[in-house]
Amino acid sequence: MAEVSAAAVGLTTADGRPLRTALATAQQRAKRRAFLLVLPLLAFIVITFIVPIGQMMHQAVYNDGFSANMPRLSAWFAEHPVGTDPDEPAWQALALDLQDAATAKTAGVVGTRVNYQMSGTRSLFTSTARKAKDFAPPYRDAVIAADKKWDDPELWGTMRQVSRAYSLNFFLAALDMTQDRQGMIVAMPEDRQIYVDLFVKTFLLAGLITLTCFLLGFPIAHLLATLPLRWSNLLMILVLLPFWTSLLVRTTSWIVLLQQQGVVNSALVATGVITEEGRLQMIYNQMGTIIAMTHILLPFMILPLYSVMRPIPPSYVRAARSLGATSWTAFRRIYLPQTLPGIGAGSLLVFILAVGYYITPALVGGASGQLISNLIAFHMQDSLNWSLASALAALLLGAVLVLYWLYDRLVGIDNLKLG
């Protein structure tokens, strides 16, 4: 043996190089060539996808609404340690910054930033800025004369917090927490705790939708996997057609079917099951979200299940039966375990997609069927608290990435099947 390997070391190529190096070089070259093929796309995805998302995540910890527009006061905070009572230079910095803000029309921006931390303060900034041009020393008296709320130490504590452009405040807010005046992390007041509940609700609803998809998808996949190919290919169209049909079309269809004057309610009234007054509320609430999303995500459950079930030979179950197992036992002990990879793949995929769903809840969810994505959209488009939207998005993204990693570990991305 030793002789052989020694001989192998001594092998050379035709031009006299050691074979090992030549092979390694060739291997390197092949590697590089393969990587070069992938590189354009990788660069494309990084620039048009990864970077934008990274930039947004940055917004979650960076907000210069206060620091950029109140430079003097921000500098004062930087120079004086926590707990320093505002002295006259501080009041002067505040007064002059407010004057500048009034001219530059940025008082609203500043007030909005402070208001995120301390509710009810935006109007203080805008209204005081309107009076700021008349401020004269001593500034403390001038500012407090404009509005006595300025004397509130809590306000100064809050301004100190927001005077740093980088902070974790928005992540805290996204977790229903805040910093008190001493900088301690405390829970939000009860009536303003909404995000954690919504995260929990999103995960519960996604779980429920995954479960209904599984319950509806399993029998179908099993049927398709056990029918002769000719038939299963035909029936497969019934699964693939929804898959290929526009999401908005399917959502529209559910509105048409389920709304109060819709097809289902009208049919129930016509057949006398319910009365005209008793029309059911099946859409624009959680139920609407669940039904429509189950329908939309069902193919993502059926397809992986089917691809796992199809190759399972029917002889295993038959063997179990011939050995005396009941059909239930044969199913439970023999068939079901073999489908576990499919169940895992389908469930994870459906859950991942459901957790981040936006369109369907927005259109048919009403007030109670909204998910975390809808709240992100709300803060993006309506309240315009972009930093909070980014923080919520970062948390959601984190959760999805963990699931994605799990999917890759358990199923493998290569095994993603599409029809």
């Binding site: 909005t112 209204s127 009536d191 303003r192 919504l198 004057q261 029309r279 007030a367 993006m380 315009l384």
Partner: protein, 358 residues
């Protein structure tokens, strides 16, 4: 970057010969947008050859703020509620408008005297007076129909779902009026924390019965679909549905909240000059009067008043449907922009927390 530019040009070239001159006007969609298209857009295009694109938003204030702050302005003219316009102007998000570009009234009155008091500001020209009120489906309440704002909040006496706008503004005022606060004292009450609590408490009494709407076109649709038995909404929308589509909607002017609505130009509008041209054109005496032919909103110019006659169907007198006619003003509240300019963010935040809590 050069390649990108070439590609951009190639792509935009493909965008089917976009007409040389075009402006985008963002407004509220539905019957209101129709009235603007008929009264302003079409005549403007006919006169100048400039195409006007109607862009729809639930409330244009939010997208405009987002566009200007992100440096992404894609519309040239925006239709805003008065309080929002003052707020955005304060924040430097709107272009200043020189009142000199406004035409004098048809009778020769100077523009600033011809417009209703306060209708023209540093960056805003009001075009209409509109009202938020509630309407109900007459077929649902054949006997003893609701007639006051308190009835809207009385789910025991008038059972059924109600539509309300998803936001704090107007809802809080209506809640207080329904709770017995006289219109004149509403804002003084809302200035106090107790007053705000009281308004939310009143809203809470019907929270479970409310279907929240966002776009102005939704309330008449919700009523028509039978999703709700009554809904707050913009009076012009109910009018359009009732008169043009013959829906059995009855408006209740008791407890209405009325306000100006009009045009502004976002800072950084791509076609500033054309936008100003459009503003001049659409705020003339005749244009404002024409709009009232299409929807029951009062024109913001005094000189337009006498020109308002019949609805475009040629038989409906507009007077009875106008929020500003004397009969409709017995218990009405002029919306306070001073209040909302400063409180809008805070109260909406509280409203959303309230909505999300159980």
């Amino acid at each position: 970057m050069k390649k990108l530019l070439v590609l951009t040009t190639a792509l935009s070239g493909l965008a089917f010969a976009a007409s040389a001159e075009e402006i985008a006007v963002m407004s509220w969609g539905g019957a209101y947008a129709t009235s603007q298209i008929e009264a302003y857009h079409k005549p403007f295009t006919a006169k100048t050859g400039i195409t006007v694109v109607d862009v729809v938003a639930d409330n244009p204030a939010a997208p405009i703020k987002a566009q200007v702050e992100a440096g992404n302005v894609t519309v040239d003219v925006v239709d805003l509620e008065y309080a929002d316009a003052v707020r955005l102007c304060d924040e430097g998000l709107l272009e200043p408008i020189d009142p000199a570009i406004l035409e004098p009234g048809a009778d020769g009155t100077a523009a600033l005297d011809d417009f209703l008091p306060g209708a023209v500001t540093e960056c805003y020209v009001a075009t209409i007076v509109f009202s938020t009120l509630y309407a109900f489906d007459e077929s649902k309440f054949p006997e003893n129909p609701p007639s006051t704002i308190a009835d809207f909040f009385d789910a025991a006496k008038y059972p059924g779902k109600r539509g309300m706008r998803k936001g704090a503004k107007v809802n809080l005022e209506m809640a207080l009026m329904a709770d017995g606060v006289p219109a004149a004292d509403v804002y003084a009450t809302l200035e106090t924390p107790e007053g705000v609590d009281r308004a939310f408490a009143k809203l809470g009494t019907i929270k479970g019965d409310v279907v929240w709407w966002e776009a102005g076109a939704q309330p008449p649709q919700l009523l028509a679909d039978g999703e709700v038995v009554m809904s707050t909404g913009y009076n012009g929308r109910f009018f359009a549905a009732a008169v043009t589509e013959g829906k059995p909607f009855k408006q209740v002017f008791d407890g209405q909240v009325y306000e100006y609505d009009g045009y502004a130009i976002p800072k950084g509008a791509p076609n500033l000059e054309l936008a100003k041209q459009f503003l001049t054109f659409s705020t003339t005496t005749q244009a404002l009067a024409d709009q009232a032919k299409w929807i029951s909103y009062g024109p913001a110019r005094k000189s337009s008043g006498p020109l308002v006659g019949l609805f475009m169907d040629g038989k409906t007198e507009m007077g009875a449907y106008m929020p500003t006619s004397a009969a409709n003003l017995t218990n009405a509240l002029p919306s306070s922009y001073e209040f909302w300019v400063d409180r809008d963010t805070e109260l909406n935040e509280r409203f959303n927390a309230w909505l999300a809590s159980n």
